[in-house]
Amino acid sequence: MANIKIEIKNLTKIFGAKPKSVLDLVNNGVEKEELLNKHKHILGLHDINLKLEEKNIEVIMGLSGSGKSTLIRHINRLIEPTAGSIIVDGEDVLQMNEQELRNFRQAKTAMVFQKFALMPHHTVIDNAGFGLKMQNKDKDFIQEHAQKWLDRVGLSGFENHYPAQLSGGMQQRVGLARALACDADILMMDEAFSALDPLIRSDMQDLLLELQEELHKTIVFITHDLDEALKIGDKIAILNEGKLVQHGTPQDILLDPADDYVERFVADVNRTRVLLAKSIMNDEKPQDTTQSVTVLETETVDTVLHTLLSEDGSYVIVEDDKGKKVGYIDKETLAETVYQMESQDKPDAA
C-alpha cells in the first residue's frame, strides 16, 4: 500500500461562541440540527478519520454545507480544529508554532481557490510568483519560475496583464501557476473549477491530469460535481452533514455505496463509463478462443465493449500497462455487466 501523506484523526470542528463547551454533547450523538437550534453552535465536522495517499488525487465530495471547505482548511490549519489531529508527513500540524506553521505552508502546501483569490493589484506574473515572494526568494528566481509555470499553463504573453483583464478560466490558470510555482508536495483545490463554464472546466481538468502525470503531487480536490470527481479522482471521500460516509476508489463508491446518501449521489452515473476492465475480468481463459481483442486493465467497460464490437472479437484479453496479461473477459460477462449497469442507472426500476 502506498504511503500515507495526510492523516486526519478524530477531527471535529464546531463553530460558535464556546465550541469546547458543546463538544461532549456532539460526542454523545447530538445531531447538527439539534446543536444549532438548542445550543446555538454549528457542527462543521464530526469525528473525521481519513488517510490520504501520497501522489493520489483525493477528491472530497458532498452537498453544499457538508463541510468540504472546512475539512480542506484544516490540512494547512487555516482553521483550528475543536478536537482531533492532522498529521502531514508524520508531523503534527497542530503542534507547530506560528513560524513553523508558516514554513510548513510555504514548503508543503499550495492552494487553489474557487474564486481564484488573485491579488488584483499585481500583474499576472507577479501573481504567479506570489508564493515564492512569501518565501523571500530572490527576484530572478521568482521571475524565472513564475514565467515557467505561466508558460506551462498556457498563459505566455499575458505576463503583464492584470487579473481583471482576464477571463475566469485564464484567472484560474494563474491561480494554478501560482500554486505550482511553489513546488509544494500537496496541492489543495477547493472547488477550483466550479466557477468555470463546462467546456473550460473540462479543459482545466485535462490540464490538471496532464500536469499530474509528470508532477505526482498529492492533490486534495473538492467538488460537488460527481462527474468531475469520477474523472479525476483516484479516491473519493464523501461527506454528509460534517461526517465522512465513505472513502474509496470511484469503483468502490459506484459498486458499493455505503448508505442511501451515497447511493443517491451516484444514482445518475453511467457506470459503464466508470467501471474498469480490471474490476470485471476473471482468471479463466474462455473456451471459445477464435478471435481475441486486447485492452488495458484501466479501460472502462464502455470502451471494452466498443473495442470488442468494433473489432468483432469473441473475448477480451486484459493487460496491464507493461503489456503483461492479467485476465480475461468473455462476452457473457460483459453483456451481463452492461445490462446490470444499465438497469441500475434507473433506480426506480430496481
Binding site: L101, T109, M119, H121, M134, H161, A164, Q165
Partner: protein
C-alpha cells in the same frame, strides 16, 4: 412644585469651585510641564520655520514649475496642470503670494504629519477591535467639538504661534485618514487574505503586500479629505498666530473689508480645488487595475 420648574443644578458656588479646580489643575500642569512640552515640539517648530522660509525664498517661477510638475505627476491631466499653475499666477498677481506660500507650508506639514500619525493609528484600529472601540469615540469628539474649545488648552499650554496652530489643524484634520485607513483595511477581500495566509505570508507581508495596497483607494480618499479639512482650518489657525491666507480673512471680518475677505477666501477655495482634483486623479490612477476588462 418648585422642583419641577427649576432644573436641579449643582449649586453656584460648587460649580465655581469645580471650574476653578480644573483650571487650576491645568495651569499647574502647564507650569510644570509646559517647557518640556514646548521643548519636545521645538524641532517641529524649527522645521516649519525652515520650510516656510524655503518656500518664501524660492523664486516664484521655480515654485510655479514645481507646482505644475507635481500636478502633472499626480493627475496626468493637462487641464488640471494648467489650471493649477494659472490659479497660482492669479493669486500671486493679486498680491497674495506670500500668504499663499505660508498656507502651503502649514498645509503641507499638517498633511504630512496627519499621514504619518493617522495611517499607523488606522492600521492599529483595523487589527484590534478593542483599539477600534477606544479610538472611534475620540475621533468623534475631535470632529465635532468646536475648534475654539480645544484651542483653549492648546494655547494655555503652548501659547500663540505656529506649533499650537499646527496642532489645532491636525486635531481637526486627522480623523478622516484614521477612519478610512481602518475601513479600507477591514474591507480588504477576505479571500485575498486567506490566499496570503495559505502561501505562508507573515503579518508584515500581509500588511505591506496585501492589506495596504488593497486599502489604498480608501486611504487615499482619507488623505484627500484630510487636506480639505486642514485647508478649512486655515482661518481659525490664523487666530492663534499662524501666518497665511487666513490672516487677511480675519482682518477683513473685523474691519468689514469685503474685497479683501473675498479674495483671500477664494484663494483658499482655489487651493482646495487644486489639491482635491490632483489627489483624486492620482487616487483613480493607482487603482486602474480594478477596471480593466478586455484583453490589452
Amino acid at each position: 412644585m418648585e422642583f419641577l420648574e427649576e432644573f436641579p443644578a449643582i449649586g453656584r458656588v460648587a460649580l465655581r469651585d469645580l471650574k476653578k479646580t480644573i483650571d487650576g489643575g491645568f495651569r499647574e500642569f502647564t507650569r510644570t510641564y509646559g517647557e518640556d512640552i514646548e521643548g519636545f515640539f521645538d524641532p517641529l517648530l524649527q522645521f516649519m520655520v525652515w520650510f516656510e522660509k524655503l518656500l518664501l525664498a524660492t523664486p516664484w517661477p521655480l515654485i510655479l514649475l514645481v507646482i505644475g510638475g507635481l500636478a502633472w505627476l499626480g493627475s496626468r491631466s493637462i487641464k488640471i496642470t494648467v489650471g493649477s499653475v494659472l490659479s497660482f499666477v492669479v493669486i500671486g498677481y493679486f498680491g497674495m503670494w506670500e500668504d499663499l506660500m505660508s498656507t502651503l507650508a502649514i498645509i503641507t506639514v499638517a498633511t504630512f504629519l496627519c499621514i504619518l500619525l493617522g495611517i499607523p493609528l488606522g492600521i492599529l484600529m483595523a487589527r484590534s477591535n478593542r483599539a477600534q472601540a477606544m479610538i472611534t469615540p475620540v475621533l468623534d469628539i475631535m470632529q465635532t467639538i468646536p475648534a475654539f474649545v480645544y484651542l483653549i488648552p492648546v494655547v494655555m499650554l503652548l501659547g500663540i504661534g505656529k506649533v499650537p496652530g499646527l496642532i489645532a489643524v491636525i486635531i481637526y484634520a486627522i480623523p478622516p485618514i484614521v477612519r478610512l485607513t481602518n475601513l479600507g483595511i477591514r474591507l480588504v477581500d477576505k479571500e485575498a487574505l486567506e490566499a496570503a495566509d495559505a502561501f505562508g505570508a507573515s503579518h508584515m507581508q500581509k500588511l505591506l503586500g496585501v492589506q495596504i495596497p488593497l486599502a489604498l483607494p480608501n486611504i487615499f480618499a482619507g488623505v484627500n479629505q484630510t487636506i480639505m479639512m486642514a485647508l478649512s482650518m486655515v482661518v481659525i489657525a490664523s487666530m492663534i498666530g499662524v501666518a497665511g491666507l487666513g490672516v487677511p480673512v480675519l482682518r477683513a471680518i473685523s474691519n468689514q473689508y469685503l474685497a479683501l475677505g473675498l479674495m483671500n477666501g477664494l484663494a483658499i477655495v482655489a487651493l482646495a480645488i487644486i489639491f482635491d482634483r490632483v489627489s483624486q486623479q492620482y487616487g483613480h490612477r493607482i487603482q486602474k487595475h480594478r477596471q480593466g476588462q478586455g484583453h490589452g
